[in-house]
Subunit: 148 residues, 2 copies
DNA sequence: CAGCTTATTGCAAAAAGTCGCAATATCAGC
DNA sequence: GCTGATATTGCGACTTTTTGCAATAAGCTG
């Protein structure tokens, strides 16, 4: 359930990154928050563990953690992105462009697409805690007068 | 090929928004740029048409245009989002989390997913110029030493 | 088309995010 | 366990994006 399960040290090194205190603390913070951690949440948790870590370092650490695949970044429509430990989410999100509502959907809805994309393009879709946009049921019906 | 085809006046009013000069000019700018218009591009084009329009107004106009469905917003991994006229893109994008490469894929790959999601959740997926993340072919093979 | 209501704008200030650089810490090699 | 090469950090300056508010303009009513 936590990143302790994965060998994040090896993963970072394999990708050519060094294992540093700030990176570990940022990873701990994302882990401690348990899903949808906004930058402000992460900054607060990091600050509790080590108040000397700079804002810019947190941003850079998150970039690295996302790049090596330990952390997943999502844009849920609210200003700012949110972060989660990779592999822990068992769902994806649908975000309504009109009202901003966020729905959760079953993880396996994406599996077909993932297979299809891998076959056609050789691209390995990151199918962990995806975000897709569109119109929720309410907002669809709220818009009958015109049809575009 | 341009937004002239759609009745953007009605669309805005239907959604309860007023039709204003800044909004029209921002829409024109997105249209003029033809795909992947960054904020800087839009600002430049808007400034040419009317130098008195404020930066903040451009951001707010884009939010509205996205919300009513006239414009599509994408995060291609580079800093900052890009904008396009809705309905004009005939492709989606795959963005590699590791190297940042951006691939284009056939529009219809998503159709199955769109139908599936609509059936299961009543959600109307915005299947116009989507962005999905993952690992490109090169970056997959570049990472054999460890397996998570 | 003049008057009225209220959404929208421009401005200024704040907040969020990015970047270059000198100082520091990681870690491979001995 | 040291040493050296170099990736990473903290800091400050900068850029980008967001926000509150008073002035303005859209569009409904008659
Ligand atoms: Mn979630
Ligand atoms: Mn495109
Ligand atoms: Zn909605
Ligand atoms: Zn790649």
């Amino acid at each position: 359930m936590t990143h302790e399960n994965t060998d994040y040290v090896d993963i970072l090194r394999t990708h050519g990154y060094r294992v540093t205190m700030p990176r570990m603390i940022v990873l701990d913070a994302v882990c401690a928050h348990e899903g949808h951690a906004a930058i402000a949440d992460i900054q607060r948790l990091v600050y509790d563990m080590d108040p000397t870590i700079d804002r810019s370092t947190i941003y850079r650490a998150l970039d690295v953690l996302v790049e090596v695949g330990l952390v997943v970044e999502s844009d849920l429509g609210h200003p700012g992105k949110v972060y989660s430990i990779a592999g822990e989410a068992n769902h994806h999100h649908l975000v309504c462009l009109q009202c901003g509502k966020v729905l959760s959907i079953r993880r396996d809805v994406i599996m077909g697409l993932k297979a299809q994309i891998h076959e056609a393009y050789g691209f390995d879709l990151q199918a962990d805690h995806l975000t897709l946009n569109g119109l929720c049921r309410d907002c669809q019906s709220k818009k009958p007068p015109h049809s575009l």
